[in-house]
Amino acid sequence: MTAPPHNILVVDDEYASLEVLALLLTGAGFQLYTAADGQEALERLAEAPIALVITDYKMPRMDGSELCLRMLADPRFENIPVIFSSATYRQDVPRPKNVVAFFNKPLLFKDVLSAVHRILNSAPSP
């Protein structure tokens, strides 16, 4: 019996980034959840056991930094690793401690996939 796929939550207010990253990760065998901002992401986190969050930094209502801080403040989500992605994020700004990887946009899927596999400790598909 094979293990169920990991659940990944992708958070991005930019339509195409969200849809295409979700499409690519689904194709790579993951179960995908999506949200358009930090507020919506917290709702998704409450609905399903998420193994990894990939979030944009700059978003309306609640940005990526605030989302990370809210997750750290909630015992249910504090241990979920986060990948940050941004086209404008300043590298010298301190990042919340649950952020384990950062990627500049535009993302390169092979780099993201490699990081996802490493973080989730699952072997890359052949």
Partner: protein, 503 residues
């Protein structure tokens, strides 16, 4: 655990260009296509889209990339490959070995744009494609649930190309006049292939209407489909725009090889200068050019004759008849003759051929025989002067000393027209070769009409075509006699014409 591989601020914004491998296209694009970007090549049927799309794929795989050619509702892959297999870029060994052909219409028809996008994803990832061509995008438009759905699809396709670093090319059967749809405004580059007609001649052209992130060459460039597939001939004046040094830097004079003409020129023409030799057919222009090239070859300077009329064999034969043998200079690499009928090539092809040969042989002397060959090759003859401005400027910048022959419609003055308006202003030197009948004899005169920034003989001289080439009289006395006789003849002729009887 932290991934710091991409922590350089804005590092991912660096633009990586991939050469297309198509002659002239990288020049027009100033470096090739941007990796991971999406381009729309559009044009009516027959303009060369499918050939170009396939050629891009073959060239990409030959350069070490991987490519996929995806069709929607288009001709079958077998029929398409059958039509392409005679072209030199075609290599059957690459098919399914770096280059895949994929039909995606069923995915589109059954699952609409979402199905097509997923198919594209699978093809890019499964084939590890770094170039994807989607031929015939029109069915996607027709089967789109709505205008918004089509916009979403184009944006998603763009994002997919970027995230997978796979350059995507859409081929569409439409023209720029219809280019107001989402796929036109949202793609990274918009390139139109078209037919252009001038009088009864039809040419293929290519124009880059939009190309994000680079200053591409503007304007319509000639596109040719031949045995090597598509080749593009960038407009010379756009290509050389601002590149050429405007003035000759040297005071060095080059003898023409005609002793008394050099006396008239106070030593010869300035190195890097451009001259026009103006005269009727048979006036001796080509022989003057042979002198110039022969004299250069003997001095160790390579020269090129760029001609439209006499074949290489005929020229070599003529050079021997006038005592200016060039055959051995061919073997020594000091003389080269590029010959072509003017109707065979467009203006830009001629310019590229000329500059390429000048570069190849390291030419310091050039004779163009004649300007009319360029004029006839121009789709729009009014472009000839702009083209020649760029070409002569480039030759001057390369310190190539050029003599350009131009044929007049009459053998002698007083009104000697130039067929390309404005050409005299472009050149430093202007020679006039005339001939006229004096009694039973044909007499020839040469004058220096202009030698910019330099003193020169102001009187015409008589010259003779001999077994030793052109020989110019040592003074103006015999020329004065010819002119006097001709003036007398003209006066009598005009008087007769004015008489009431007309006799």
């Amino acid at each position: 655990m932290t991934d710091d591989a991409q922590l350089e601020p804005y590092g991912a914004w660096l633009v990586e260009r991939a050469r297309t491998g198509i002659s002239g296209l990288d020049t027009v694009l100033r470096g090739g296509l941007v990796r991971g970007a999406i381009y729309l090549f559009m044009g009516r049927p027959g303009t060369g889209k499918t050939t170009l799309g396939n050629q891009l794929c073959f060239a990409h795989v030959k350069q070490g990339g991987r490519a996929a050619y995806m069709t929607l509702l288009a001709e079958s892959h077998a029929a398409m490959l059958k039509n392409l297999h005679t072209m030199s870029f075609f290599d059957a060994s690459l098919i399914n070995n770096g280059l895949s052909y994929v039909g995606a219409y069923r995915a589109l028809r059954d699952e609409k744009l979402r199905g097509l996008l997923d198919m594209v994803r699978r093809v890019i990832l499964d084939e590890k494609a770094s170039l994807l061509v989607i031929d015939g995008i029109s069915p996607a438009r027709a089967l789109a649930e709505s205008e918004v759905a089509l916009k979403e699809f184009v944006v998603e396709l763009q994002m997919l190309s970027a995230m997978t670093n796979c350059t995507t090319i859409l081929l569409a059967n439409m023209t720029a006049a219809d280019a107001n749809d989402p796929e036109h405004t949202m793609v990274d580059g918009l390139i139109e292939l078209a037919f252009e007609q001038f009088r009864r001649r039809t040419f293929r052209t290519i124009e880059v209407l939009k190309f994000r992130g680079t200053r591409h060459l503007l304007g319509r460039h000639e596109l040719e489909i031949g045995a090597d597939g598509v080749s593009i001939h960038p407009r010379l004046e756009d290509l050389l725009d601002g590149a050429s040094n405007p003035a000759p830097a040297s005071d060095d004079r080059l003898p023409t090889g005609i002793e008394q003409l050099d006396v008239m020129l106070r030593g010869g023409v300035l190195r890097g200068s451009n001259s026009v030799a103006l005269g009727f057919s048979g006036s001796g222009k080509t022989t003057l050019g042979l002198h110039f090239l022969h004299s250069g070859a003997l001095a160790g300077e390579a020269g090129v004759l760029f001609g439209f009329y006499e074949s290489p064999d005929r020229i070599l034969q003529s050079s021997e008849h006038v005592g200016l043998p060039l055959r051995e200079q061919v073997a020594l690499g000091k003389f080269s003759h590029v010959w072509q009928p003017s109707h065979e090539f467009g203006l830009d092809q001629l310019g590229a051929r000329l500059l390429s040969e000048v570069t190849r042989v390291g030419a310091k002397r050039l004779v163009i025989d004649s300007l009319d060959g360029f004029r006839q090759a121009a789709i729009d003859p009014s472009r000839t002067i702009r083209f020649m401005t760029a070409l002569l400027g480039e030759l001057r910048a390369r310190e190539v000393t050029t003599i350009l022959m131009d044929e007049t419609l009459k053998p002698s003055g007083p009104e000697m027209e130039m067929r390309v308006e404005g050409i005299s202003a472009l050149v430093e030197n202007l020679f006039l070769l005339e001939y006229m009948t004096v009694g039973p004899k044909m007499r020839r005169l040469i004058s220096i009409v202009k030698q910019r920034a330099s003193a020169h003989a102001t009187s015409a001289r008589e010259f003779f075509l001999t077994a030793r080439g052109i020989e110019v009289a040592p003074d103006a006395a015999s020329a004065a006699e010819v002119v006097a006789h001709t003036d007398d003849y003209s006066a009598r002729h005009n008087e007769k014409a004015r008489s009431p009887e007309g006799v």
